[in-house]
């Protein structure tokens, strides 16, 4: 039997196991929305297309499935671009469906036409313009396959209105044939053996873990690996939750706002075992002084990541799901030598403990004014172990990375690569849609919150009980910090002069709002906020000019940190 393009699209989604999509209707997707009424797929109506993409992105980040968002042509589609770029930078598997004007009108500056293939080319893993309904099923199959395999990423499918209305026999292909795309690489055994020899020869090894480990779901293998060789583990922002931050081998985050001990460990290390990380400039600081004494092993599924920023002594192209278990097996075969390494690295671990004692993560507590770090510590103490935390971008995001000890994988959702303010609230929404029963918290600043605050309406409408923590400093705090440190305290356009009543804002949307202004109120309010049903805004008036420390100034080496006094 023949089906229309829009029916085929929804069938493909269903066959790909998609249960929930996020989106916003309009003229060129009206057929899809009509057929959606007869489809088992749940649709969440966000209040902005950017938010719909962030929500679908976070849905993917917490479930590991491909996130799906739908937008209409023109302004709807261009609104998705920040969301797509955010997902692209963090390698999140997504399929974005954009409506397009009918094929005969493409290129005519038709009403609500935008060249989405051109616009999204640099921020998608791949994109498709569907010109014939007969190609739609194959393209959808490929889109999902490309999104989720290899180094994952967003794929956009631009679907003209006439293609949605045309009919074809529906036949979903079982396999994908893409001769230019062979993503499942198995690591070269000789390289693997070399890696093992290097590990067995190391005396100051450090395991440096990136977002690839989160995406590959290898937390268990990583734990085994680290415990076997007893090496300290440092994680990037994208990998905080892939290794328990409470583990004795954890040294927390490295880089610009990393811990003293992580940055010292990397600087002194003689072997850096890099797993699914990409040596971002926020991580390395000045390249010339990054891990100067270390040999570098770099495991990554994406060959373009290897040797892009730093020299690499042993490249290992492969999937972590394949490489880590094989490394662990290999080490098992060398049990005696492993024991020797563990014994020979006692001094190294002692050194790390010394660094931890010398400069632990700390802040100065005050009697009355609330310290933002304190709120985060308390939150960790009081929320569930598997609570999902999303953040916006700014100081609050860094404090979350520093002071919220993540334990379970896929519980930390943050925009790392692009650093998109306005990500957190819709991301929390998407995470809550995936796990209605779990605690989901958005940690936000007053600035970022206002970039997508319209999503309060979506939360209330769909009864998604996200708890929003606003660390309100009345500043665009992170930029203000840079102005304080590097621009003589000239606070150009970073003071949010109009104070917002976030409690009233919550109430206007039918959510609950509460506010704390003193340290002593923090604990009670977090307890109350977490226990209150439905979406809640917990606003904390925090110390206005608190800084995120340690900090490696831009362009400096990791060992040139400005430390908390």
């Amino acid at each position: 039997m023949k089906k229309t393009g829009s029916q085929i699209l929804l069938e493909c989604l269903r066959l790909e196991g998609v249960e929930t999509v996020f989106g916003y209707p309009g003229g060129t997707v009206i057929n899809i929305y009509d057929d959606l009424m007869d489809s088992p797929i749940t649709h969440v109506l966000n209040r902005h297309e950017q938010a719909a993409v962030h929500a679908a992105d976070a849905y993917s980040r917490v479930t590991g499935k491909v996130g799906v968002a739908i937008a209409t042509s023109g302004p709807g589609a261009t609104n998705t671009v920040t969301g797509i770029a955010t997902a692209y930078m963090d390698s999140i598997p997504m399929v974005i469906i954009s409506g397009q004007v009918p094929t005969p009108l493409i290129g005519n500056d038709a009403f609500q036409e935008a060249d989405m293939i051109g616009i999204t080319r640099p921020v998608t893993k791949h994109n498709y313009l569907v010109r014939d309904v007969k190609d739609l099923a194959r393209i959808m199959k490929q889109a999902f396959y490309i999104a989720r395999t290899g180094r994952p990423g967003p794929v956009l499918v631009d679907l003209p209105k006439d293609v949605q209305m045309d009919s074809a026999i529906f036949d979903y292909p079982e396999t994908v044939e893409l001769r230019g795309y062979k993503p499942t690489v198995s690591a070269n055994p000789r390289q693997l053996n070399k890696a093992i020899s290097m590990i067995l020869a190391a005396r100051k090894p450090v395991i440096y873990v990136g977002g690839g480990a989160t995406l590959a779901d290898v937390s268990d293998d990583l734990l085994t690996f680290a415990e076997t060789i007893q090496a300290p583990v440092t994680t990037t922002l994208m990998a905080m939750a892939s290794f328990p931050q409470t583990h004795e081998l954890s040294v927390g985050m490295l880089g610009m706002h990393g811990t003293f001990y992580a940055n010292m460990a990397v600087t002194e290390s003689d072997l850096l075992i890099t797993l699914g990380a990409r040596f971002d400039d926020r991580v390395t600081g000045k390249i010339a002084t990054f891990a100067p004494h270390a040999k570098i092993i770099h495991v990554d599924v994406d060959p373009t990541s290897i040797k892009k920023n730093v020299r690499v002594d042993l490249p290992l192209v492969g999937m972590l799901q394949d490489v880590l278990p094989r490394l662990n097996e290999g080490l098992l075969k060398h049990a005696d030598e492993v024991q020797e390494v563990v014994a020979a690295t006692v001094g190294w671990r002692e050194q790390i403990v010394k660094w931890k004692e010398q400069h632990p993560m700390a802040y100065k507590q005050t009697k009355s004014t609330i310290k933002p770090q304190y709120v985060i510590e308390k939150l960790r103490e009081l929320c569930d172990e598997d609570a999902i935390v999303a953040t916006e971008v700014g100081q609050h995001q860094m404090w979350t990375a520093q002071f919220f000890d993540f334990i379970k994988p896929r519980t930390f959702v943050t925009s790392g690569g692009l650093g998109t303010m306005g990500f957190g609230l819709p991301a929390a929404l998407g995470a809550q849609a995936a796990f209605p029963e779990r605690q989901v918290i958005d940690i936000s600043g007053d600035g970022s919150f206002q970039m997508n605050s319209q999503e309060l309406a979506t939360l209330v409408q769909y009864r998604l009980p996200v708890k929003i923590v606003i660390l309100n400093n009345n500043f665009l705090g992170m930029v203000r910090q840079w102005q304080q440190l590097f621009f003589d305290k000239r606070y150009s356009q970073t003071c949010m002069e109009l104070p917002i009543d976030f409690v009233k804002l919550a109430e206007a949307y039918g959510a609950t709002g509460m506010r704390a202004t003193k340290t002593e109120e923090v604990e009670e309010m977090i307890k109350k906020g977490l226990a209150t049903p439905g979406p809640v805004i917990m606003e904390f008036k925090v110390a206005r000019e608190e800084n995120v420390l340690p900090m490696v100034p831009a362009g400096a080496g990791l060992n040139e940190m400005v430390l908390a006094s």
């Binding site: 640099p122 313009l129 001769r179 230019g180």
Partner: protein
């Protein structure tokens, strides 16, 4: 340093901007690019000439490989290969220079493809260096218009780059 890269791609619309975008996105100039279908009409072969440092070229080559529509990337830079480019040129050929133009054409084995009382159009193939020399000799005689195809290359020896191996 000059690099000549051959890229086998799916013969589909929209592939060219993906490829060229990788270069422009990194501030790299494409000196020349030629593209046409291969023996297998579903595959097109691009020959790209660019200049740049080895490390960045390695990145670009990896990035090209990463494109879904790219089937194979061959960097001929350090290989044994044959390179040819085609050139067509319109030269003024008034009374006194007419013979000289033909003499130069003859030396370079160029064909006369169009003749008018005031001009010749010539066609020649060869290595880019040969074409450069040809152009320099014609320049004083009055070059009116010049068009070059950009080089295409093929490896020496029996090994063939056709599609997926």
């Amino acid at each position: 340093m000059k690099h000549t890269i051959t890229v086998l791609v799916e013969n589909e619309f929209g592939v060219l901007p993906r490829v060229s975008g990788l270069f422009s996105g990194r501030g790299f100039n494409i000196d020349s690019l030629s593209v046409a279908p291969t023996l297998d009409p579903s595959i097109s072969r691009m020959t790209i000439v660019t200049t740049g440092d080895q490390k960045i070229l390695e990145q670009i080559s990896k990035q090209l490989n990463k494109l879904i529509d790219v089937i194979k990337v061959i960097d001929f830079t350090n290989q044994n290969y044959i390179e040819r480019e085609m050139l067509m040129v319109k030269v003024s050929a008034e009374a006194e220079s007419r013979a000289e133009v033909l003499r130069v054409a003859d030396i370079f084995r160029a064909q006369v493809v169009d003749v008018t009382p005031r001009s010749y159009s010539l066609e020649v193939t060869g290595t880019p260096e040969k074409l450069d020399a040809f152009v320099e000799l014609l320049r004083p005689l009055g070059l009116k218009e010049l068009v070059r195809s950009g080089p295409i290359v093929i490896g020496r020896g029996p090994k063939a780059w056709r599609s997926v191996d």
